[in-house]
Symmetry: C2
């Protein structure tokens, strides 16, 4: 049902007769089964689908269009902060990969390993791998070690620093419990890798890139985040410090939206990135890495989607405005289509947030209701209908995806053209405000261990996803209590927030604590 | 020598004293050793370098910047012809890959095969692959079979057609004799994959995309090409028809610059892409695929480069204009830099061929000669020098990379700003004209087998690369003579040109022939 097309008239009738059980385009609804709702939205919006290769996904044009917009906008922010893109090999020799002990331990359990370079037909007529490699190759799960090998050649003197490079690439981490966008064996991401002369510069870079992520996620994806540092047990394998931004989605779980790692000299020692410093002495470089992935597409779905499907922030929508011609009679059809095309051209001349507007006319001959629902499910921010009667009155019917489906605004053509940047901005803002309000309401200051356990224990065993949200609680740094909470509740420290310290006592150990940290269940 | 920095004064002195043996920035010169010249340009321009992973390359920021510009501009042409981007898995199950017999035979000898998904430390303390896969996975050498599996699900009815999708991706073909950009184990490319209702539509798409490639290569890369169809023996494995554009580089060899394949129903049969046609009957879809790769970066180097390094067509240069401050005295330094920054801002407001101009100021404190040579080697189209004396006269010294190094034009600041689009266009045109003149001069109509063998036999055994170029000769379609020529001379049919037929006789068999075909040695 959720993937098919709806009978528009029937739907309205049902909705009118019994608004509380109004039929929605996505079934189940979020409150009925959030994980299944998510899968159905991803499918109904034609964002992606599983492939027959375990854990790998096919990203369909609408999903990939969202990713391309994210790429373009994030890439501009990387350039503005002095970074340039490059590309390094997909394959990492096993010996490189093993150079940093914590790093290899962190990724060894989920690697795709290339062992042969040829296929041959065996005696039974079956095709089999042949020509074994002397040294197996690991398909990159992340590129610190392979990029480090190049940097070791490029860096000789402090004059060669900083190196500020980013890579857009696919990476592979073998995944036993895949979930589209959020956790897939192959995913797309960017990974920044920088080398600096001093520890202070590398730390500043680590923080700067976290700030870039926070700004991007807030202003472009309309998602509020908390930012801070990971606890030791949640760090990137091999990092000295991992900074993270954490979003809350509608089942109140956290999603780690972007991470920025200060790697100290760990990886430069492993790769031999050495330079002659200003005093003429050999020194290891100070490195950072930072990444954001296609996981953000899933985060947008889970943050903004409703029971009718996806809702896209205008800034990253592949199409911001879909014009829907209403053509009940053959004799007015040509005129309506002409008016739609003319409006599309006028709207494309407008700009919103420095973006050229993407405006399409859905000319398909498949029935107005079907079309309308398709774009609702795909989350197009604005739908504009033009029918024969609108031609006479020079008006259009405008529907905002962030507002109830039946609320349509009638506007003159001139009005929609001149007001479109402001309307798109208002949608972008309303999505952010709604997400922030939700997040803030589910973020609780917790003062005792009992309240903490209560907060994270589902009240209704049939709906295990309905639990607290984010808990702000004092913690004194004890790894034992952190592990205990993880075992008992599947709750982890998402971040140790930056900023002012606050005196208190750890709610688990009773020891003095200088800071509240943010706890949550997470993806 | 070629990778280091030059002593500018000494170089000028040498050049003045003996112009015929003037020192060049790249050693060896093209006529001395073309393959080595190529490697040295790629290195000196910091385009790419080999990695320790056999056959894989590291694409450095300057090389990747060229590729990004190619991507952006080609992508816009794909969009304008109705295509959208998507992304399919890196891994292909062996059983999929083996579905099309010719296809698998064509790629089986050069596959990277993933057989394990984990690394474990064995009894000797060595890290080894573990967790073997039941079915090995092939790292995509091209994606017809994995994309076909998705299309089989998406296509049900003629109403679902055409499917017009492109993918930007990395692919892997195990390479025993790698050469940077031209032949690497991993390379970056785009691959278009379309499905159509009729054979005629699929053929029209195949030709349309070849035309897109021809236009892109001509207008953006300033490279003239011949276009036509491949002979049967040179077709893509599994294709019914392969169309190609062929460029000639400065050692007179051909480079296949882009290919577009009409796949008939071969792959739709293999993947089960079936639809209900307008008559209500099940029919297999008609598919095409087409690709262009990072090989084009190497083709640009080999087409336009000279003995001082790379020469970039302005349309794809990561930086079109490099401003070089001349700061001999500390007291005028600030003023010179200020004037450079002001000019950079003014130039960035100009547009060329719908592109925002990329203008940089090289503020590094490393000596004017070193800087100047670096940008010569990197092929920046325009260099603009500003020194203290220029401030008074309000003038700048402009050097075009397509003209001799010592020819500088003095212009007023106003003049360079207003004329910059025209100057860049003139560089773009002059590169094209030069390449076309060279190509045309080395393209010969050949009327006999003896002349053909003479044309392709090096006159000087010490310089095997100096041979004919492109030969236009009648051929009657005999695979035997095609194979004989390949064995004897390493010469192949590059294309069977489109267009008017011409009656004649095959120069090898003496049989009647309706068409001249283009023969050449190739990369």
């Amino acid at each position: 049902m959720a993937t098919g097309h709806f009978d528009f008239a029937r739907l309205i009738a049902v909705a009118m007769s019994n608004p509380s059980t109004a039929k929605t385009a996505i079934s189940p609804r979020r409150e009925e089964d959030f994980p299944e709702w998510y899968q159905q939205v991803v499918r109904a919006a034609e964002l992606a689908e599983p492939s027959d290769v375990r854990g790998c996904m096919v990203i369909r044009p609408w999903g990939y269009g969202i990713w391309e917009n994210m790429q373009r906008q994030l890439d501009a922010m990387f350039r503005a902060t002095g970074h340039r893109n490059a590309y390094f090999p997909l394959f990492i020799p096993l010996s490189y990969f093993a150079k940093e002990a914590e790093h290899v331990a962190g990724f060894a359990k989920e690697c795709a390993v290339v062992t042969h370079t040829r296929l041959e037909v065996d005696a039974d007529g079956k095709m089999k791998p042949s020509s074994p490699l002397t040294e197996p190759l690991v398909v990159r799960p992340t590129s610190e070690t392979i990029i480090g090998a190049s940097y070791a050649k490029w860096v000789q003197s402090y004059r060669d620093l900083p190196i500020l490079i980013n890579q857009w690439a696919n990476v592979v981490r073998w995944e036993m419990r895949p979930r589209l966008f959020l956790r897939t064996t192959e995913f797309l991401w960017q990974e920044g890798h920088t080398v600096h002369e001093t520890e202070a510069e590398a730390c500043a870079e680590t923080k700067q890139m976290l700030d870039v992520y926070e700004k991007f996620v807030r202003d472009h994806l309309a998602i509020p985040v908390y930012s801070g540092e990971k606890s030791e047990s949640e760090r990137f394998p091999g990092a000295v410090q991992t900074l993270s931004i954490e979003a809350m989605v509608q089942d109140r779980k956290a999603i780690q939206a972007g991470t920025s790692h200060f790697l100290g000299q760990n990886f430069s020692r492993a790769s031999g990135i050495q330079f002659q410093n200003r005093e003429g002495k050999q020194e290891f470089g100070w490195t950072t890495s930072w990444g954001m992935s296609t996981r953000m597409v899933g985060t947008v779905v889970m943050t903004h989607g409703d029971d009718d499907g996806l809702i896209l922030p205008p800034r990253i929508a592949p199409t911001q405005i879909m014009i829907l011609p209403i053509t009940p009679k053959e004799e007015t059809r040509a005129k309506v289509l002409e008016a739609c095309d003319k409006l599309a051209r006028e709207l494309r001349d407008q700009r919103y947030a420095d973006l050229a507007l993407e405006v399409d006319v859905d000319r398909r001959d498949i029935g107005g209701g079907t079309k309308n629902w398709e774009w609702i499910k795909k989350g197009v921010p604005l739908r504009v209908e033009i029918g024969p009667r609108d031609l006479e009155s020079n008006s259009v019917a405008v529907s905002r995806r962030d507002q109830p489906m039946k609320r349509k605004a009638s506007m003159s053509r001139q009005e929609i053209v001149s007001r479109v940047p402001e309307i798109l901005d208002s949608i972008q803002q309303s999505l952010f405000e709604r997400a922030k309000k939700f997040r803030d309401e589910q973020t609780r200051v917790i003062e005792s261990k009992k309240d903490f356990y209560d907060f994270f224990t589902p009240k209704n065993s049939a709906k295990p996803e309905i639990h607290g949200g984010f808990a702000l609680a004092h913690w004194n740094g004890s790894r034992e209590s952190e592990q205990q909470i993880k075992n008992d509740l599947k709750v982890t420290i998402r971040i140790i927030p930056f900023g002012e310290s606050e005196k208190g006592r750890c709610i688990f150990t009773g020891e003095p604590s200088s800071r509240r940290v943010i706890w949550a269940k997470s993806y």
